[in-house]
């Protein structure tokens, strides 16, 4: 556990992060296209919350962020919640089953979350009925969206981790790994 923080602060940290991300997304990021597509921070945030906090918190955060997005954008309620719940749960299970530690995990997970979000949203829209003609360019937009989201995944991961880590309970597996890699407790702890 981080110094001066308690696990009980985690829900507040997640809620504050969710609100800031959604406002930032709708107010700023959506208005600045990169290579013709818009960076979507919301699925990245949901995936990283799941990766840090586990499947239950990930799914709840996904549902909450999705509902907030749907409410604020006047979209069909429940649509984004459903997709983000799956993303949050999936990334949480990834942590619980594999606990990946590679430097590029955030990048790969970010790309996967963006892909799941874009493809999931498109599938849901098709299921609900599309009135406008759909172009094959949609595929290009999805691929570009995944690439652009993957590019911003690393900084987003760093920010999400910095916000949530002080509220996370200490994980025995990480403690064991640290002991293995450093040959014991950290010098700071020993001092």
């Amino acid at each position: 556990m981080g110094a001066g923080a308690s696990p009980s602060s985690l829900p507040w940290r997640v809620a504050a992060l969710a609100i800031v991300v959604v406002f930032l997304q709708i107010g700023v990021v959506s208005e600045v296209p990169v290579f013709g597509v818009v960076v979507d921070l919301s699925p990245l945030t949901v995936a990283f919350i799941g990766l840090l906090c586990g499947s239950t918190v990930g799914a709840c955060a996904g549902f909450g962020i999705g509902l907030l997005v749907d409410l604020m954008l006047g979209q069909t309620l429940g649509l984004t919640s459903l997709i983000f719940t799956a993303i949050g749960y999936g990334s949480g299970r990834l942590r619980e089953l594999r606990d990946p530690q590679g430097a590029l995990v955030a990048l790969v997970l970010g790309a996967a979350a963006a892909g799941a979000s874009l493809v999931g949203y498109s599938l849901m829209e098709f299921m609900l009925g599309v009135d406008a003609p759909v172009s094959f360019e949609l595929l290009r937009q999805i691929v570009l969206g995944v690439i652009v989201d993957a590019i911003v995944a690393l900084p987003v991961w760093a920010i999400v981790r910095r916000c949530l880590e002080p509220g996370l309970p200490d994980d025995p597996r990480r403690r064991r790994r640290r002991a293995y890699t450093t040959g014991g407790l950290s010098p700071l702890t020993r001092a």
Partner: protein, 320 residues
């Protein structure tokens, strides 16, 4: 203990998925005035002042990012626009005499009462939010019913048509852009008057598709597409006649009908201020909008079973 954790985890997932599906089904099935729509409207009413404040606070950040993009884009366009400007200046001079003659004839034939933009009152609004979604291209603005903004009011910028108001609260409104998958606009080719239906191409945010043009219609790349001002059933709105929508970029023949790709004139990616065209309750546009709302509903909004002539468009097409 471990089993209990697994059971709790699965229960939470099932609960959230079920809740999402219930919301989705209920929202999709209910009318626009339904309970969930009201909750969403009330939420937006509460949140829109915060969103407006956040938007103002974050404007420098947005401007900084926008500046890089705009500079690169502007440099690329400069030479092309200079050339275009010279050409247009020559055209304007040549057409000034035609315009004078036209104005005289128009007065003679009492066409001044025809519905036009002059009959509307423009309300300037600031964009306070934008959807990142590929499918739902919407923006939120900081003007609502308190400023005279109502559902189905057209929204424009200096370059041309932006979209239509689809939701209006006391101090906010939601605008579906012309590139939103649910929008269709009755339009004409300005040079020839040929009617068609402008729809978005999902997946191509910088492109629109004008469909159902008669095969023998002469259309050239560079022709301008403007709103036709006709009433149609799917969308009971009435865009004033002659609002520029876009410019033809390519033409495709498909048997008896022709379709053209149209590039929107308005820059829909970086909207800051827009104008909502509102009208007084008993004005001519209001009467026309009431008439439009009484027309039988189309099969699906935007499906656009528009005919080949403007008359058919007016009665069966989908669009504004």
């Amino acid at each position: 203990m471990h089993d209990k954790t697994i059971r709790r985890r699965r229960a939470v997932l099932v609960l959230l998925v079920a809740l999402s599906l219930i919301l989705l089904t209920a929202y999709f099935g209910e009318a626009r005035g339904g309970r969930l729509h009201s909750v969403q409207r009330d939420f937006l009413t509460v949140v829109s002042p915060i969103q407006d404040g956040a938007n103002k606070a974050l404007k420098p950040v947005r401007d900084l990012f926008g500046w890089f993009g705009s500079t690169l884009h502007a440099k690329g366009q400069l030479a092309e626009l200079r050339k275009q400007n010279d050409k247009l200046r020559a055209q304007v001079i040549a057409r000034q005499s035609d315009e004078r003659a036209y104005a005289t004839l128009r007065r003679l034939y009492h066409l001044d009462n025809e519905l036009g933009v002059a009959a509307y009152h423009a309300v300037a609004a600031t964009v306070i939010g934008e959807s990142p979604n590929l499918w739902n291209k919407t923006i939120n603005i900081n003007k609502g019913t308190g400023d005279g903004v109502r559902e189905n009011d057209p929204v424009v910028v200096g370059e041309g048509l932006v979209g239509v108001v689809t939701e209006a609260g006391a101090a906010f409104a939601q605008v579906s852009l012309v590139t939103d998958s649910g929008i269709g606009v009755s339009a004409i080719i300005n040079e020839t008057g040929a009617p068609g239906l402008v729809e978005p191409k999902v997946g191509e945010p910088d492109d629109l598709l004008m469909q159902y043009l008669p095969a023998n219609t002469p259309v050239s790349i560079g022709n301008y597409v403007v709103t036709s001002g006709t009433i149609s059933s799917g969308h009971p709105s009435l865009f004033p006649r002659g609002i520029p929508i876009g410019q033809v970029t390519s033409v495709k023949e498909e048997g008896a009908i022709k379709s053209v790709n149209v590039q929107p004139l308005a820059n829909l990616h970086n909207l800051e201020t827009v104008q909502v065209l509102t009208y007084p309750p008993n004005s001519e546009p209001a009467q026309a909008a009431r008439f439009a709302s009484r027309l039988p509903a189309g099969k699906t909004p935007g499906s656009g079973a528009a005919g080949a002539s403007e008359g058919q468009l007016a009665s069966t097409g989908s669009g504004g």
